[in-house]
């Protein structure tokens, strides 16, 4: 008899031994379906109501449904403006979130790459520049030299960006 404590090991061994009988089996995706959510976010950002969803379930529902759909058609121009405004906000917010996500990814990669001897310093927004001699003036916007080591945590210089909104730099990897 197999004990309950031994059952999982036996099942794993049997799965290994009979693998070819099962053919190709993809592993279980564990956790919430974030991939499906991400894939559909843009679609959800643009409201797309359909007039066919407008109905009435009352006893004299048919004329009420007809009236409601007529009102929606009459108000189409107004609703189109509302939807355009809302879609603009949704898409820009979504784009902003994606930008943030990319920055977090970059941060995580930088942290993973950092060795204990060379800690990554996450600076406030700053344009990454080639190593600069402190006496030589403000940094240029030249790309970072990865071999130059971690960036300093010096405060941002707004003048370093043409429109005054400095890029954010993450450990010289961005």
């Amino acid at each position: 008899m197999t004990t309950p404590e031994d059952a999982l090991d036996r099942a794993r061994a049997a799965a290994h031994a009979r693998r070819d009988r099962y053919g190709e089996v993809s592993p279980t995706r564990l956790g919430p379906p974030y991939d499906r959510i991400r894939a559909r976010l843009s679609e959800w950002a643009v409201p797309d109501p359909t007039g066919y969803e407008i109905r009435s379930v009352r006893r004299v529902g048919a004329p009420i449904t007809w009236l409601k759909r007529g009102l929606v058609r009459l108000l189409y121009q107004f609703h189109a403006q509302l939807i355009a405004d809302q879609s603009r906000f949704n898409l820009l917010a979504l784009n902003y979130v994606r930008t943030l996500e990319e920055r977090i990814d970059a941060l995580e990669r930088a942290l993973a790459d950092a060795t204990p001897a060379t800690p990554v310093v996450v600076a406030t927004p700053v344009v990454v520049a080639a190593p600069v001699d402190a006496a030589a003036g403000p940094p240029s916007s030249a790309p970072a030299d990865p071999a130059a080591g971690p960036p300093s945590s010096a405060p941002a210089d707004p003048a370093a960006h043409p429109d005054g909104a400095p890029e954010t730099s993450v450990g010289g990897l961005r």
């Binding site: 036996r10 794993r12 009979r18 099962y22 089996v25 559909r40």
Partner: protein
């Protein structure tokens, strides 16, 4: 006299929280305590003495037991209720499980989680129906949470002695069962996939029954498509069963397979133990706490391992009998006489803190 009112965000005929509120009320009445039960949304088919939330007018010394399992429609009304508040956290499923299939429910769950900080701050005492839920509540600032496990009403389904009523073991054509809401986080999709693999390699006559109310038609359609692909003709999906019908499904089952990834408690595990059905489960949420050593817990992301566990249970009768015996033992930890004193202690904690 102690007076305990219960407030639910919603109450329905097949709702576990509503059922538990009824069991709580029976205990309160037996202890000579007063109070009434209220809910914001009451299902028209509910046959229970639950009144609208607007009719709740507690006295300052009364205890209001807030059953929290989803977002409250008017949180300020709840927070400003007179009386001493006992927050009982039943868990709120993370919204991420629902955004794709049921966005309205996802928003409701997100609201339920967002409201937890304010609810914890306003509560005089907190309780949770598992240590897992108590741990989640601690993250929102709750301290000294009393764990009051869900009270299983075994008489409701008419379960007898599991060792005696366990079905004669089948080694072929076995019946696999899962009971739980048809919802993405319950992972019926993976149950179908693992069952399909088992059926293909070990037992072409095996059948799977999934019992539960759907959260949305789209998800059920996805499950039906999966069933047609992995185990055509062998999967039955049933909803709206009576208690007698549900009991019959348990009695006819050889294996209970639960691959759910989020459970604040999981009553069907105890129901399976009650009917002498050996359990395979994923150790997610409160499942290890509820199952103890009475289930085969499988954390693997490999459905072939799950299929092999089903085969092991089907072929190894002593193993199945040992799990049935342990399941019967496990039920003692969830007997009303073990849990009712904790319920009383939670109410007393709310009275004591506020006094």
């Amino acid at each position: 006299m102690t007076v305990v009112h219960q407030l639910l965000s919603g109450a329905g005929p097949h709702d576990a929280i509503t059922t538990e509120a009824g069991v709580f009320r029976a205990h309160f009445t037996a202890w000579g305590w007063g109070g009434e039960d209220h809910a914001y949304r009451i299902h028209p088919r509910l046959d229970a003495p639950i009144q609208p939330a607007a009719a709740l007018t507690p006295a300052p010394d009364d205890v209001v037991l807030l059953h929290h399992s989803a977002g409250w429609p008017r949180l300020d009304d709840v927070l400003t209720l007179p009386g001493r508040k006992l927050l009982l956290y039943h868990n709120v499923t993370p919204a991420a499980w629902f955004w794709v299939d049921v966005p309205g429910l996802a928003a409701h769950c997100q609201l339920g989680r967002d409201q937890l900080t304010a609810l914890v701050a306003a509560a005089d005492a907190t309780a949770a129906d598992s240590a897992f839920n108590a741990g989640e509540l601690a993250a929102y600032g709750a301290a000294n949470t009393v764990v009051v496990h869900l009270l299983l009403d075994r008489a409701r389904l008419g379960a007898g002695d599991p060792v005696v009523t366990g079905t004669a073991r089948r080694t072929a054509g076995i019946r696999v069962l899962f009971v739980g809401r048809l919802s993405p986080h319950k992972r019926q999709d993976e149950v179908i996939r693992a069952f399909g693999l088992y059926r293909r390699v070990h037992d072409p006559a095996a059948v799977l029954t999934l019992v539960g109310d759907p959260i949305g038609e789209r998800y059920v359609e996805e499950l039906r498509a999966l069933a047609d692909r992995y185990a055509p003709g062998a999967v039955t999906i049933e909803s709206g069963l009576s208690e007698a019908e549900l009991a019959a499904r348990y009695r006819g089952a050889d294996v209970f397979l639960c691959l759910s990834e989020h459970e604040g408690f999981c009553i069907p595990l105890l129901e399976a133990f009650s009917f002498g059905v050996p359990v395979i489960a994923r150790p997610a949420g409160a499942i290890p706490e509820v199952a103890g050593d009475a289930a085969l817990l499988v954390p693997d992301a490999d459905p072939v391992v799950v299929a092999e566990l089903i085969a092991l249970l089907a072929e190894d009768a002593p193993l199945a009998q040992e799990l049935i015996r342990r399941g019967s033992e496990r039920l003692r930890a969830f007997a009303p006489e073990a849990i009712a004193p904790r319920l009383a202690a939670a109410v007393r904690a709310a009275e004591r803190v506020a006094a």
